[in-house]
């Protein structure tokens, strides 16, 4: 079905990105108004498009429709998974935009921040909507380039260093992706994802070992982008050096879209899930889940601690995905497949909300006290009660304490692992959950309780920052409702069905 709304998710942020510096020449407030308006419109559009009845919509920019079932041009495809990812991206982007308005006054060159923010958003929306392999690479580069610039936005010593590291490693990851895409085009003579999967399924490709070679290059590229443990060196630096709303976007959305979404799309929809790939993905997920949380325990810098937890929580999502793929490939227990993918999707949207919120509260602490070292904090509860409530909600959510959303998604993944017969992975998931709790108890204890600070004047956090944090904290509670089948049927099931159906 044709749906021209899809193009607006790419067109509007690009328009906003380049119109802001122009309008700002004439009127100083224009950038704020454009930022709020465009991000609100995108948020509402993504909510409407998710609630609409689930059927696959597409749009062909330029009117290049398929001829005799041979795809021409680039198609935007809005299936359940894409729409689910759009909801994640645009919701967090809206709240980060509200938060960024007062926060970014700490920096110079504010209008460039708004431009880069929208470029990143356009790239992310493009990645989830496109149905073309090379276009996927192009949008990944758009999002990645904007992220590199945003990481270095403060132009301090450490920020430039983090950005340089991110650029070298991220650039290499993009080239691995390009190499994989080139190999895939060589084997299948098409770039359209649906077409590639048809060609591969009908065994029109003789040389399966070359396909495996291409798959490994694609996986290496994506694993670097999603910072799985052997490839994680850039993440703690980049995510802790960026301005806080950008850290929230990087941790909440960018590693999911450029990493996990691409893994789901390529290794479940485009290639058929096979035992070998599922094992590689699940093992990478398990290692990052465990090692990420162990690295986080030793961290004293608040944002660095949160960044290590991002690696660990993405490990949960990838382990769930790997288990699901393994169950599909082995053909045993088909009823577990839906449960694993539901857990992975649910944890992904939960993580975007609570990790985004945690980075925003870290930014708020940095805004009022001027430091991020946990050892030089204390007793902040009485000075910043709203920040403390928001941070408490998010910490409980990430540690998996029952009324909050994180508990239900982790529980779903662990139950799915047990039902699928992966007892070791289930035990590992529980153990990591306990260490995560310990680590966040440490954060709460050192930052908000304990000996109050003396001799330091605290800046009042602005209203807009508090509004955005409280709204996200309420979302942390509300999203526990996703566990009920009626709510799940609207938000999660269309995405899960796309992952299951492709294997029929």
């Amino acid at each position: 079905m044709e749906n021209p709304v899809l193009i607006f998710f790419i067109f509007l942020p690009f328009l906003a990105a380049f119109i802001i510096p122009l309008l700002n020449l004439f009127w100083d407030q224009a950038k704020t108004i454009v930022l709020l308006l465009v991000s609100l419109v995108l948020f509402l559009l993504s909510a409407i498009i998710v609630i609409n009845p689930p059927q696959i919509t597409m749009y062909a920019p330029g009117g290049w429709y398929p001829v005799d079932n041979i795809p021409l041009g680039i198609h935007l495809v809005g299936d359940g998974l894409s729409r689910f990812m759009l909801l994640i991206i645009n919701t967090l982007a809206f709240f980060c935009a509200i938060y960024a308005i007062p926060y970014i006054k700490l920096f110079t060159g504010q209008k460039y921040f708004y431009t880069l923010f929208f470029l990143q958003l356009a790239g992310l929306n493009g990645v989830v909507l496109t149905g073309d392999m090379f276009n996927l690479f192009v949008f990944m580069e758009v999002a990645a380039k904007a992220s590199y610039a945003l990481v270095a936005f403060g132009v301090k010593k450490t920020e430039i260093e983090a950005s340089f590291k991110y650029q070298v490693i991220g650039g290499l990851a993009s080239l691995f992706m390009l190499f994989g895409i080139a190999m895939l085009y060589w084997m299948t003579s098409t770039l359209n994802m649906a077409d590639i999967s048809v060609v591969l399924k009908n065994n029109h490709v003789d040389n399966t070992s070359l396909i495996r070679f291409a798959q490994l290059f694609l996986l290496a590229g994506v694993a670097i982008k999603s910072a799985m443990i052997p490839f994680h060196a850039w993440l703690p630096d980049a995510h802790s050096s960026a301005p806080s709303p950008v850290s929230a976007m990087l941790s909440g959305v960018v590693i999911k879209v450029l990493g996990v979404y691409v893994i789901l799309r390529l290794f479940i929809n485009v290639f058929e899930p096979c035992g070998f790939m599922s094992m590689v993905i699940a093992v990478l997920g398990g290692i990052s889940m465990t090692a990420g949380v162990i690295l986080a325990i030793g961290a004293w810098d608040l944002k660095r601690l949160l960044a290590y937890h991002s690696i660990s929580q993405m490990g949960y999502v990838l382990m769930g995905t790997g288990i699901g793929m393994g169950v599909i490939a082995s053909g045993e227990n088909p009823e577990v497949v839906a449960l694993t993918f539901t857990g992975a999707m649910f944890h992904m949207i939960n993580h975007s909300v609570f990790k985004g919120l945690l980075f925003l509260t870290a930014g708020s602490i940095e805004y009022s006290t001027g430091n991020l070292d946990l050892r030089r904090m204390g007793g902040l509860a009485q000075y910043m009660p709203l920040t403390m409530i928001a941070s408490f909600a998010a910490s409980m959510a990430i540690a998996g304490i029952p009324p909050f959303n994180g508990f239900f998604s982790k529980f779903t993944i662990i139950v799915a692992a047990i039902q699928g017969g992966y007892y070791f992975r289930a035990a590992l998931g529980m153990l990591v959950g306990i260490i995560t709790l310990a680590s966040f108890v440490k954060f709460q204890r050192y930052a908000f309780f304990g000996k109050p600070l003396t001799g330091i004047t605290l800046k009042q956090t602005p209203v807009l920052m508090n509004v955005s944090m409280i709204a996200l904290a309420v979302l942390c509670l509300l999203m526990s409702l996703f566990i009920f089948p009626e709510v799940r049927a609207v938000f999660l099931d269309p995405a899960v069905n796309i992952l299951i159906e492709s294997t029929d």
Binding site: V138, E141, K157, Q167, V168, L172, L175, A182, W186
Partner: protein, 114 residues
């Protein structure tokens, strides 16, 4: 086949340079070598021996005349533009790094521990 293997050797050379060099400018050059090797491979994929350029001529093209695949060529053009952005930004960042640290040696640029 030899051409593809040479191309892959170029790819590995760039990767090796990226892993062992200490000078940040050399790292950028190695990244460019990896880029170029992939562009060469894309062009090779579309090339047919004895093929002509994929342009619509006024006069009829003789039957069975091989035409090279235009799609990898457009892909390479797009990728070159992206590589231009990558290189210019990474070099701008290298200049800033040099101004802040006063050195190109990555062993001395180590304020962050990864």
């Amino acid at each position: 086949m030899t051409l593809y293997i040479l191309c892959f050797i170029l790819f590995l050379t760039g990767l090796y340079g990226l892993l062992i060099s200490r000078n940040i400018i050399k790292i950028v050059i190695s990244l460019t070598i990896v880029e170029i090797s992939i562009f060469l491979m894309l062009i090779l994929i579309g090339y047919i021996s004895g093929g002509i350029a994929p342009v619509i001529f006024q006069q009829e093209v003789p039957q069975h005349q091989a035409v090279v695949d235009p799609l990898p060529q457009t892909m390479v053009l797009t990728a070159i533009v992206i590589a231009l952005a990558t290189n210019s930004m990474i070099l701008a960042m290298a200049i800033r790094l040099y101004k802040k640290y006063g050195t190109f040696d990555i062993h001395e640029i180590n304020k962050l521990k990864g």
